[in-house]
Subunit: 324 residues, 2 copies
Amino acid sequence: MQSREVHLVRRPDGMPRPSDFEIREVALSEPADGQVLVKNVYLSIDPATRPRLTRGQELNVVMGGFALGRVVKSRTPNLKEGDIVRGAFGYREAYVTDARYVGRVDIDPKLPLAIYMSVMGGAGFVAYGGLLEIGKMKSGEQVFVSTAAGSVGSLAAQIARLKGCTVIGSTGSDDKVAWLQSLGLDAVINYKKEPIREALDKAAPKGIDVYFDNVGGDHLEAALRKMNSLGRIAVCGMISTYNDQQIGVRNLSLIIYGRINIRGFVTTDFPHLLPQFNEEMTGWLRDGKIKYQETYFDGIDNAPAALIGMLNGENTGKTLVRLG
Amino acid sequence: MQSREVHLVRRPDGMPRPSDFEIREVALSEPADGQVLVKNVYLSIDPATRPRLTRGQELNVVMGGFALGRVVKSRTPNLKEGDIVRGAFGYREAYVTDARYVGRVDIDPKLPLAIYMSVMGGAGFVAYGGLLEIGKMKSGEQVFVSTAAGSVGSLAAQIARLKGCTVIGSTGSDDKVAWLQSLGLDAVINYKKEPIREALDKAAPKGIDVYFDNVGGDHLEAALRKMNSLGRIAVCGMISTYNDQQIGVRNLSLIIYGRINIRGFVTTDFPHLLPQFNEEMTGWLRDGKIKYQETYFDGIDNAPAALIGMLNGENTGKTLVRLG
């Protein structure tokens, strides 16, 4: 059986270009004992891929990235044909692998499958665990979410609301402000129109108990000034520093008398929350309580364009490549 | 009965001067029901007093500061004559107060009384709780302590060693390096002779699991580069920022993939550890396993000089005023 996959063939300098990638056809072997053959259905396009193009992603091999696929042949008792699995080297149509390298996803047939790559996938789980486990968020607290219109931020903001918190979001365009207001956030800041510090002073009269940080830099400085005693800062990303604009945070000493906790985290930090997340988020989705936006690209040939569009900020919400 | 006390009469601009303070004599009333008369024995001179001289400390009233005193008259069943108590408004020879404003100190008569203002007082407890509760330090870990020759840092460094950790300390003079080496630290950095970043690269080949931070700024940046996964930074102070030299920390994004925890704390954050601290530290002191340095001044008249000497860096170890 043949499959096509995306290889990085040249390390980009700044924004990646289509010529940095090549689509290559490979022949798949038959699955051996303990192996499965998986056909990918959806490929998740994520910001974290960009730094790996500079360092981490090998040249001339299949590119890393999460994909959701269907088992089409199984030679392990743990997986059967038709099972939906998540794998980490996703920029390809199909692959054969040892079963231990994929994770079976327990899907709800009433929900669209693509949702397991966004709301029910890493984006949703990192928002959920970041607030509850890392941020130790409790009902009634004041929560600030930066890049609140992003795929993770918009879920963090909505989860915080559903959990009974007052939610302030920051974003960078009027369209996104309007969308966040339609989600019911208590205050929305357009940080491109007003300095984040002054805006937050106005938007957070009761201070901040939990800051879900995707930005770092000036957003983190502004939040530190507003943190309530024993407040928690859950650091999911620091996009302000990704392009080597290493902006210093100058008021960290505020954490001492405020007894503030700052914790960086990744999605593997709270595996014990997964069953609870699956159940609660499925319920919210069925009840129409979570809204999300997606941008689709079709076919593996368009995976580089999907990635470049996301990095350019041209895509809305979660970016996915449909392979099925 | 008469008592003399120190009042702040002028807010200092930069380093305080003797003329910023006055010694005033006050008449004490007889203790009423529920009150005690306390004669102070030792006054603790602490760095945290300096910012309060600019904001916090009222003018022309007794100055705040911890003191250890002896109850000489009691009209409460909870305290009896001879009891040793700790109070918060310490720049005075004697005072009458409601019993609830002082805390009885359970002393070990085999230890010198002054130790309850240093090793067995706030300095020791903040070092102990900072490492164990905030830093979640475990035996065998790599621990870095900045200002390791200070009254808190030197105790943190020794506690970490006694708990079976590898300990790296930083300090700013060769004399202090020599003293820290005599305490058995595994590596000692003189940050005035070598940039902290390069020095820490050499001194911490196994990285850092717990950083007990008294400095912030460049020390924190250097430590962040060396933190092991799931490392903990317990922030006790950020002396590099106290004089408005707001140096930014530029590499905070390292906490994300490192899943580093940064927590500011104060001595009241772990009251449940107090009995355990008292028992363990008393044992170490009796066994001669903890070393400490003290500088004494005699009489309330010399309290301003004691404070100025400490802020100038002229005193060695813990600064105390003897009043008894």
